[in-house]
């Protein structure tokens, strides 16, 4: 008895919370956490549309699985970058990584 | 309400049917049955630990030529564990200074929850299963993978270097051993064509241990590592890092880690029985329904299941009291250089061979084909190991005579090379050493 729009609204809210985290946090790891929240929001959308419109086909599930895969790859590479930057610059604050700026 | 009906239902493990007959069917009754089932299952898991701890202590004592608990509760010390639990319950609750309050207190609760959650898909007897998920095995892997993080919480939350070291070791070991475990489990999943635990039992007209012995062995070794039992118990190695991730826990909080360890061991023994030993199957007797409609066969199934489970539990304890602890590098080398390649090859071979066997083939013919395949892979693996061992002995001066097996460093720590290859023990190569000539495993003391 749940209208489709409820899932979409939940997903929208989660996406915006993640977006706020990405834009407002200083720590690069926290920014990555925001990105993960946004990817989760996308996945809720995909599964909700799958369940309401094409439950007899696998397209929604397949796409959600690919998003999951990409999220795993993104987290691995992103955190490796953070560790590498921390080693060379002794900081993971995104604003302080401005060598290219000046 | 009929007492005789109730007794017969109890005896045939069909209490749910009795409740439906008595109170009528409806959503309320189903909810009652579900909640009752959950309460019964988790109570059973928590209570059987009291018996398991006593059993383990007795077994290990016998194997080490001791008597074991023999004072509290009669000659056999049956109430020893009850007394221990009382002691744990009356202990003071201690918080280490600088501990992370949330993580420190959440970890013992979460680890017991994770240990109980997996029991939902354990089939005890025909129809006696928490919930028959069609992704049962995947569910188990997901929960056990997520429960690794609880150990990290405990290690980090304790604000103790030994605890953190233990947690790092635990994570490295458990995350690594999940890989061969899942790969090995894919073999019975391919053979059964389903991930549901009940479906896998139904598919075993011949127990899968005869169709996939190598997969069973890999799964068993990974299980030992996943539960952190000897010889893979270096996440709580007493002589190196005192007690690992639960060093700062006392009283019942420690008791909960202990509890979860035993529940997990029994669960993995049960899963091994379910997947490889045919679970509750006993020549069709487990499906026997009496003339007045009570499925008494379930009781036979339950007894058979627990007989097999306790046999596997005995094997766990046997291994525990026999083998010494291995080193961190050995444990990871065994995983990444031996178990993962073997299980990958096995998975490819089984997938191809099982596809080639036509669907209508006799079960015994299918078994023989798979058994031959397994023997071929095992022989090839042993031959490769033997060649490598021989090369390594020849490459090291004086290697072969003393029986000490030496292998050159192969790159993973090549930065500190000393020119000549350094002798270290490598687990697979021990197979090639003459019996009795093995060097004792030396645990480095820091």
């Amino acid at each position: 008895m749940i209208p489709l729009s409820w899932f979409l609204l939940l997903s929208a809210a989660l996406f915006c919370i993640g977006l706020y985290g990405v834009l407002a946090r200083r720590n690069a790891i926290a920014i990555l956490m925001g990105v993960e929240l946004m990817l989760n929001a996308v996945n809720i959308n995909l599964i909700a549309f799958w369940r309401y419109f094409t439950p007899d086909r696998s397209v929604g599930l397949v796409w959600a699985t690919f998003v999951l895969t990409v999220a795993a790859a993104e987290a691995a590479v992103g955190l490796a970058l953070v560790i590498s930057v921390y080693r060379s610059r002794d900081s993971v604050i995104a604003e302080e990584l401005d060598t290219l700026k000046n | 309400m009929d007492i005789l009906d109730l007794l017969k239902s109890l005896l045939s493990l069909s209490l749910g049917d009795f409740i439906r007959r008595t109170f009528g069917t409806g959503p309320g009754t189903e909810l009652l049955i579900d909640i009752g089932g959950v309460v019964m299952l988790s109570t059973f898991c928590l209570l059987i630990v009291i018996f398991l701890i006593w059993l383990t202590r007795k077994l290990i004592a016998r194997m080490q030529d001791r008597i074991g608990p023999n004072r509290v509760g009669g000659r056999f010390g049956l109430l020893q564990t009850v007394a221990d639990v009382m002691k744990l319950l009356t202990k003071e609750v201690i918080h280490p200074s600088g501990a992370d309050w949330v993580a420190f207190n959440a970890a013992p609760i979460l680890i017991v929850i994770a240990a109980l959650l997996v029991w939902a898909v354990m089939p005890f007897a025909p129809g006696v299963i928490g919930v028959d998920l069609n992704i049962g095995i995947f569910y188990v892997m997901a929960i056990s993978s997520a429960s690794v993080i609880v150990i990290l919480l405990a290690g980090w939350g304790s604000n103790n270097k030994y605890a953190l070291l233990g947690a790092f070791r635990a994570v490295a070991q458990m995350v690594s051993y999940e890989v061969p475990m899942i790969l090995a489990l894919l073999v019975p999943i391919i053979l059964a064509g389903t991930m549901s635990t009940k479906g896998i039992i139904d598919a075993q007209t011949i127990p899968f241990i005869f169709l996939a012995p190598i997969s069973a062995l890999i799964f068993y070794i990974s299980t030992l590592a996943e539960t952190g039992r000897t010889p893979f118990d270096l996440l709580e190695a007493e002589s190196e890092i005192v007690a690992g991730y639960h060093i700062e826990y006392g009283g019942m909080k420690f008791g909960m880690f202990f509890l979860a360890e035993f529940i997990n061991t029994l669960f993995w023994a049960g899963l091994f029985v379910t997947i490889y030993l045919g679970g509750y199957r006993f020549f069709g007797l487990e499906n026997w329904v009496s003339a007045d409609g009570y499925p008494y066969g379930r009781l036979i199934g339950l007894i058979v299941f627990f007989a097999k489970v306790f046999f596997m539990y005995f094997v766990f304890d046997w291994v525990r009291s026999t083998l010494p602890r291995v080193r961190v590098d050995q444990i990871l080398n065994l995983n990444w250089k031996f178990l993962v390649p073997v299980s990958l090859v096995l998975l490819f071979a089984v997938a191809i061979v099982d596809k080639l066997i036509p669907t209508g083939t006799n079960a015994i013919v299918r078994m023989v084909i798979h058994l031959v395949l397994n023997v071929v892979i095992a022989a090839a693996t042993l031959e490769i190991l033997r060649r490598r061992g021989r090369q390594n002995r020849l490459a090291t001066p004086g290697g072969g005579s003393g029986g000490a097996v030496a292998v050159p460093h192969d790159g993973h720590d090549g930065g500190h090379g000393h020119g000549a290859p350094q002798p270290i023990e490598d687990v697979p190569d021990v197979l090639d050493a003459p019996l009795g000539a093995r060097e004792p495993v030396v645990v480095p003391v820091h």
Partner: protein, 182 residues
């Protein structure tokens, strides 16, 4: 009705812990809240009758990604002990910006999929034969390796994972010079 209660519970858990993730100063606690949020999303998947994805969420997000994040936090933990604000200078702007995005999304969703829709499909999830949902995992697996469906994206995903694996090891590997300096 019971489904609606479960939905609201899960949504509350997910959104509350998501807000904790983006506002908490202690990064370790933020990562714990992130795990709770992932758990809530996994519950939403199971509510949508996609238990396979729910379990995959558990396996990948909580078992792997949260673990990586917690490890990264531990390795950079010296930075956690500062009392500085966790936000950068554009905190007000990003709050307004994300609220604007939320407003636009709510507007669009409300226009396309109204909360009290007349269309029966949008009112509640369509009744499907349980067998169809039960076999959705099998269908998904087959479409991953079928030439008519998604075999190419599937192989690309595996290449992507391999590239990520190799790449992250190379990036995070300490260079010889740096090792000497420390």
């Amino acid at each position: 009705m019971s489904q609606q209660i479960i939905f609201f519970l899960l949504a509350a858990i997910t959104l509350t812990s998501a807000i904790v993730v983006v506002t908490m100063r202690n990064l370790f606690h933020a990562a714990l809240a992130l795990m709770v949020s992932f758990l809530g999303v996994a519950g939403i998947y199971i509510l949508l009758e996609a238990p396979f994805l729910g379990m995959a969420q558990l396996l990948v997000y909580i078992g792997a990604i949260s673990m990586l994040i917690i490890f990264a936090i531990m390795m950079t933990r010296r930075l956690m002990q500062t009392n500085e604000t966790p936000f950068n200078s554009q905190v007000i702007g990003s709050l307004i910006g994300s609220l604007l995005v939320l407003a636009i999304l709510v507007l669009v969703i409300g226009r396309l999929y109204p909360l009290a829709p007349a269309d029966a499909v949008l009112q509640t999830a369509p009744q499907v034969d349980p067998a169809v949902l039960q076999s959705s995992v099998a269908r998904m697996g087959r479409s991953f390796v079928s030439a008519e469906a998604y075999v190419l994206p599937f192989e690309l995903a595996s290449v992507l994972l391999l590239a990520a694996l190799v790449g992250s090891i190379i990036i995070a590997w300490p260079r010889r010079g740096e090792e000497d300096n420390q």
